[in-house]
Amino acid sequence: MSADHAVASHDTHTTSTGLSNVKLGMWLFLGSECLLFGGLISTYMLYRGRVGTGPTPMQVFDIPFTSVSSFVLLMSSLTMVLGVSAAHKGDDRNTYLWVAVTALLGATFVGGQVYEFTAFYNEGMGFTTSLFTSSFYVLTGFHGVHVTVGIIMLMSTLGIMKRSKVPGSKSETIEMLGLYWHFVDIVWIIIFTLIYLIPV
């Protein structure tokens, strides 16, 4: 870790807004993602009572298990922000460590979701069983895909960083990954409350 690197990591190109275009683009993307998940959550809220002959949400949800998953994802946000902090300080060793731990916690969350989906399916909750099940799987599945994409991006970035081939500012790259990861976390904060904790 060198002071030069730390200084270089804070360099930003001059833009018409005076802000980083990459960061501006990422926030625009996250703003549009709000609309995507807003639509999916709305659909679920509308259809969650339409269970037909299938199981009701309260019959299949395993709140203790999902609570642990939520806690794991929440803690991954902490490790991610510590990784971003280390990247800004130019501390490569801790950046690798925290980003890798974040990916591991994310993988744990996704593994838990796969287990949960399998258990639901075995209890007769198929994708087309009812409007409730369809909207539930689409919403939580989309979120799971976002977490999976996040893990792939984290691991890819670690690999690229190891070979010192990160284009532009390394700390900004990690910061953008962090923004995406925290967004995935805040979406889960909403899903956990609205979908799992509020009874139909």
Binding site: W27, C34, G38, L82, S85, I186, I189, T193, L197
Partner: protein, 100 residues
């Protein structure tokens, strides 16, 4: 503490200890949320859950995503998308309410 670290904390608003404190508060709120599933909160159930959800959301966005310390334009962009999403939800609910 080096000047470099001090500058970093000033730019991003928080130290690592601060992030850990925020995470502990978030974990405590999550535990409280889960407790509503087992303990009867009566009429407070729904408002309490909503408030806890919003507080967690704002804490992550403000401190972990640095919106509190960053340029206000980023806040406008993000919250515009969020408010639009809530608007879409309200319109969708209203539509189903009137036409179903």
């Amino acid at each position: 503490m080096s000047t470099e670290t001090t500058t970093h904390t000033e730019e991003h608003g928080m130290s690592n200890a601060g992030y850990v404190r925020i995470a502990l508060i978030l974990a405590a709120i999550t535990a409280l949320e889960v407790s509503t599933y087992y303990v009867d909160f009566g009429r407070l159930f729904m408002p309490a859950l909503m408030i806890m959800m919003v507080v967690k959301f704002i804490m992550v966005v403000s401190y972990f995503m640095h919106l509190k310390f960053d340029n206000k334009l980023f806040s406008w962009i993000f919250y515009a998308g969020l408010i639009l999403a809530i608007g879409v939800y309200c319109v969708a609910l209203a539509t189903f309410h009137f036409f179903s």
